[in-house]
Symmetry: D2
Subunit: 339 residues, 4 copies
Amino acid sequence: MQLGMIGLGRMGANMVRRLLENGHQCVVYDRSSKAVEALVQEKAAGATSLADLVKKLSKPRAVWLMVPAAAVDKTIADLMPNLEPGDTLIDGGNSYYIDDIRRASELTVKRIDYVDVGTSGGIWGVERGYCMMIGGPKEPVQRLDPIFKALAPGTGQIDRTPGRDKLTGTAELGYLHCGASGAGHFVKMVHNGIEYGLMASYAEGLSILRAANVGAKQGDVDAETTPLRNPEHYQYDLNLTDIAELWRRGSVIASWLLDLTAAALVEDPALEKFAGRVSDSGEGRWTIKAAIDEAMPVPVLSTALYERFSSRGDAEFQNKVMSAMRYEFGGHLEKASGK
Amino acid sequence: MQLGMIGLGRMGANMVRRLLENGHQCVVYDRSSKAVEALVQEKAAGATSLADLVKKLSKPRAVWLMVPAAAVDKTIADLMPNLEPGDTLIDGGNSYYIDDIRRASELTVKRIDYVDVGTSGGIWGVERGYCMMIGGPKEPVQRLDPIFKALAPGTGQIDRTPGRDKLTGTAELGYLHCGASGAGHFVKMVHNGIEYGLMASYAEGLSILRAANVGAKQGDVDAETTPLRNPEHYQYDLNLTDIAELWRRGSVIASWLLDLTAAALVEDPALEKFAGRVSDSGEGRWTIKAAIDEAMPVPVLSTALYERFSSRGDAEFQNKVMSAMRYEFGGHLEKASGK
Amino acid sequence: MQLGMIGLGRMGANMVRRLLENGHQCVVYDRSSKAVEALVQEKAAGATSLADLVKKLSKPRAVWLMVPAAAVDKTIADLMPNLEPGDTLIDGGNSYYIDDIRRASELTVKRIDYVDVGTSGGIWGVERGYCMMIGGPKEPVQRLDPIFKALAPGTGQIDRTPGRDKLTGTAELGYLHCGASGAGHFVKMVHNGIEYGLMASYAEGLSILRAANVGAKQGDVDAETTPLRNPEHYQYDLNLTDIAELWRRGSVIASWLLDLTAAALVEDPALEKFAGRVSDSGEGRWTIKAAIDEAMPVPVLSTALYERFSSRGDAEFQNKVMSAMRYEFGGHLEKASGK
Amino acid sequence: MQLGMIGLGRMGANMVRRLLENGHQCVVYDRSSKAVEALVQEKAAGATSLADLVKKLSKPRAVWLMVPAAAVDKTIADLMPNLEPGDTLIDGGNSYYIDDIRRASELTVKRIDYVDVGTSGGIWGVERGYCMMIGGPKEPVQRLDPIFKALAPGTGQIDRTPGRDKLTGTAELGYLHCGASGAGHFVKMVHNGIEYGLMASYAEGLSILRAANVGAKQGDVDAETTPLRNPEHYQYDLNLTDIAELWRRGSVIASWLLDLTAAALVEDPALEKFAGRVSDSGEGRWTIKAAIDEAMPVPVLSTALYERFSSRGDAEFQNKVMSAMRYEFGGHLEKASGK
C-alpha cells in the first residue's frame, strides 16, 4: 500500500523504514530536505513540498502526519487546498483528542476522512514495532489495515493471554480501532497518564532503597529536627543496579520500564548525568483533566504529574509560604542545610 | 500554686511569665544561668541545679519539663534521685506519645505521677494563652488544674459554640484532659498533622494565584513542552497581600494561619527572605505512622508532609530516575531550564 | 443606591436583606413569586418578570444575578433585549471565570459593563457579611462601591493585621477589586480549592483521633492481614467534641471551619445523620485544571477533591482492578469484611 | 543439597516441588499432615513434628520457614531446643526486616545463622521461578547458593540488559545477596511498595477509560452539581479487555501486572466477581514508614496504600466530617445518589 508521511523526525522516519521493510511504498516530506534525502536513500520517494507529496500519491490518498501537536492544525490547513474528497488524513502524533473531534468534524464537511492514531513505543518502535491506538470512522481505519499491521509489533514472542484464543480482533497484533474520532488519542493519553504513575512508583521505591543507609550518616539534634529513633535500622548500602536487574527476573514488578531502568543503572549507577528536571508532555495533564470531568479519583496519577512539576522548581513559592507561616507562629528560621 | 519549670527557652520562659502574672509561684532552672536570672528579675525563684530546684519545691512537688524531645529521658534520669513518691512530672514539650506510655509505666513503679501535655500556641502563647492537650492519670491532672487554667487562654472573646452551654468541662477554657498517658501528646501530634495540611492548602492555593499571569509570559514550543492552549485565560497579576487580607474578612477559609500569612505578606509581599526549605518536626511524621497503623487513609496529610521533604531537595534522586527512564525510552534529553 | 437582584435563593434573598438594612433600594425578581413576595414584605420592590425588573430600575441600571452557574447565560440572554448601553450586569454566583472572560467580551460590544463577583460566606453571610472577590473594568466596580461596602463585613471585631495601617484599599473591609474580567471568580475558585484542602485536613486528622482505640478491638491474624504490632499504643477513646472545641482556643489550627466542626460535633457527636457522600461544586475542579495549566504542583488540593469523588463510590471499578490483579498473581481472594 | 521446609502452604509446597525437580532433597513439615503427605507422594521426606524434621536433617542443617509473618517468632522458639551451633535458619516469608535484625542478633549468640529471604512471584513461582532478595551474613548465604539457584528463574528467555555482560553476580539469575541481616526483606518490602503504586496506576487509568462515556449519561443540573461542560467529549464506549491486551504489545507500559490484568479482563470484562475491597499486607505499610524515617517523599506509593484503606470503607468518618462542615456553612444537605 502507498502512504504519504509528513514529518521525518525520530518517530516518522523510523515508521517509514518499518513500512518500507514490509513492502509498502512511502512518499515522504519534511521541512528539512536532509531528512527527506536520508529516506530517499532507503527507497522512499521524496517530496519537495506538501503539494508535491500530494501530487505523488495515487487516489484515494492516505497522508500520515507525524509532526508536533502544536503544528498539526497548520499542516492540515496547508494541505487542504491539495486534498480531495475521499482522501484520508492520519494524525499519528500526540494531539489532544479534543482537537481530533473538532478536526474530524471540520474535515467531514469536505468529505476527507480523519483518523487519529496514538502511538507508543518511542525510539524502540522501529525494532519492537509500534503499539497503535486508533480512532475514527470504520471505513478508513479498515482501509489502512495493511499499514497498521506493518507498523505494529505483531504477536512476536509475547505469550498469549490465557483465554484470548476465544476472542477476535487485532489487539494481539498491537493495534486496535478503539472507537470514534478522538478515541485513539484518548486511549494514548491515558496510556501516558499510567506511564507517569508507573515511572513515579519505581522512582520513589528506588529512592527509598538508596537512602537505606541514612542511619549511618551523622545528624544534628535540635528542636527543629527529628532525630532518627533507630539509626540501626538504616545501615544498608544497597546496589540499585543489581536490584533493578533482579526484579526483572520473576518478580511481580517486572516491566519494560524496569528493563530500561536496569539498563540506565548499568551505564550510570548514580544517574549522575541527569539533573532530575523531568519534562512532561500534554498527555499527562490532559489525563487528569479528563478524570476530573469524569469525577474519577486519580490521586496516584495526579501526584506523579505534580512530582514532575516540582522537579522543575515550580513549588518554590508555596514552600516559601510555608516557611513564612512557620516563622510567624513559631519564630522558626529556616535551616541552612535542610532537614 | 507552686511549680518547678525546667527549660527556659522561648516556650518555658513565657509560660513562667504567664504563671507569675496569674499569682502562681515558680522555681525555675535552665542550663543557661542567664535564662534563670532573667526570670528571677521577674519574681521567679531561681535554681542552680536540678537538685536545687527539687529542694526548693514543697511536697508533693510538681515539676514541668519544657526541653527538647530528645532531652526528656536524660532530664528525667537526672531528676529521679531527688524526687519522691507522690511527686508529679509534667512533660510539656513535643514528646512522642509512645515515649509517654513507657515513661508513665516506669515512673508508676516509683509512685511518681507522669503527665503529658501537648502545647500549641507558639510564640504567641504568652499573650493568647496556651492550648493544652493533657494525658495521664486523673488525680495529678486535677491537682494541676490551677496551673492549666492560668496557662490556658480562657474563654476570652471567642464566640461560644452553639449548643455548648449544655456541656461541661474545660475544653472551652483551652485545656482538656484527653485520656490516659500519652493521650495529650497523641492529640497534639494529630493537631500538628492537621496543621501541615492546612499550611499546604494555603500555600498551594496562593501559588496558583501567583502564577495566574503565566499566559503573559513567553514560552517555547517544542515536542517536549505543552504550550498553554489558552494563554488569554492566565493574564492576571493578583495582589496576594490584599487577597490574604480579604479572605480574613467573612470568607469560609478565615483562620489564624491565614492571619499569620496575611501579616507575612504585608511585610514581604514576595516572601523573598525565605528560601522555601521547610523543616518538619516529629509530630507530622508520627501522625502518618499512626494513621497507617490504624489503616486510616490520610493522603492529604501525608502529601503535605512530603512537600516539606521535597522542599529540601530530598526528591532529587527519584527525579533522576524518571529522567533516566525518559531518556531510555524516548531519547528525551533533559531541558536546561525546566518546563 | 439602587440594585436589581435576580435570583432570591438563600444567598440572593439574604443579600437583599443586608442591602435594605443598609439603606439601599432593591428591585427583586425570582421565578418563584413567593420568594419575591417575601422580600416585598421586607420593603424590596417586587418585579413580575425580567422586563419588569429592568423597567423599575433607573438608568444607568445595575442588575445583580444570583442564579445557578448553569443558568447565567440564559438569564443574560433573556435580559439583553431590555438592557441599554451604560447598564451594568453583575454575576455574583459561582461562574467559571472563563465564562466571565467570554461574557465580558460579548457585552462590551453592546457597551454593557459586566462585573464578576465571587462571594464567600454561605448562609452566615447575612449576619457576618459577605467576603467579595471582584473582577471587571475599573469604572463599574467603583460605581458599585456602596453596594459592596454594604454587603461586606467591614472591619468588625477582627484584629488588624500588623503593618496593614501602611496600606490602603478595601481588602480590610472584606471586598476587593482583584483585576480584569474573571479575576473575581478566579480568586473565588482558588478560595474554594483551598477550602477543600482545609476541610480534608481536619477530616483526616479527626478520623485518626477517632480510631485511636483500634488496639482495643479484636483482629484476626492471617496471611492477608497485618496484625497491629503494638495494640497497646492504640487504646484511647477520645472525645472529638471536646477536642474540636479545645483547638478553637489558642491553638495554631483555630479557624472558622473548625468553629463549624465544633458546632456540628456538639449537636451530633458521631455525625450519624450524615452518610459521608460529599458533593463538590465546580470551583474545586476548576482550581486543579488551572493549576495544571500553570504547571503548579497541587497534590494536597487535588487529593482533597479526589476524596470527595471517592466518598461517592467513584473508585469502585479501580478497586476491582486491584483486587483482580491480586487474585491473578497471588490467588488472593477478597476478604468478606475488609482489612 | 538438603533442606528442611516448614510451612507447606501455596508458596512453601511449590518451592519444595521446584527443589525436588532440581535434584535437591527436602524434609518437609506442616501443621496439616495432609499437606505433608501430598509432598511425600512427590518424593519429599515427611516429618511429624519440628523435632522430627530437625532429626531427619544432616548437620549443618538448613531449615527454611515459609509461615505467616506473625508465626515466625513462635516457630523459631519451638525449633530452638533442637537446633545446634552451625545450623542455618532461613525466613522466606513476609517478615518485617526489623524483626530480622533482632532475630539475627539473638541467634548469633547461639551461633545459629539466620538468613532472610524476600520472595516474589506468587502462585506463578513454581513455573516461572522465584525472585529472591536475600539478607544475612556472607557464609550461610554462599552455602545455600545451590538452593537459591534452583528456586530462582535463571536467565530464561528474558533479554539481557545492555551492558550487563561487563558485570558479575547472580542478579541475572533472579536471586541476590542484598546485604546484612534484614536487607532481603527490606528490598522485598520496597518491591511491594512499588507494586502497590504500579497496580494503582493501572487501576486509575483503566477507570478513566471506563468512564469515557460519561457524557452520554443523563445528569441533573442543580446548585450542588457541576454539569459536564462538554458532554460531547465523553462519548466513548471503550473495550478495556482489548485495550489491556493492546498495551502488552509494544507499548511503554507493558508489564507482568498488565499481563495479569489482561487475563483477568478476558475472563470477566466488568470484573463483576470482585467487590473491590482491596487487602494490604504489611510491606506496603512498612515501606511508607521507612520512607518517612528517611525523609523521602513518596506521595505516589502512600496514596496507593491509602486507596486500599479507602476501598474497605475506612474513610467513612472523614467523609462525614466533610459533609457536616458543608451543612454547617452552606446548609448543603447530602445528595441521595452522589455526584
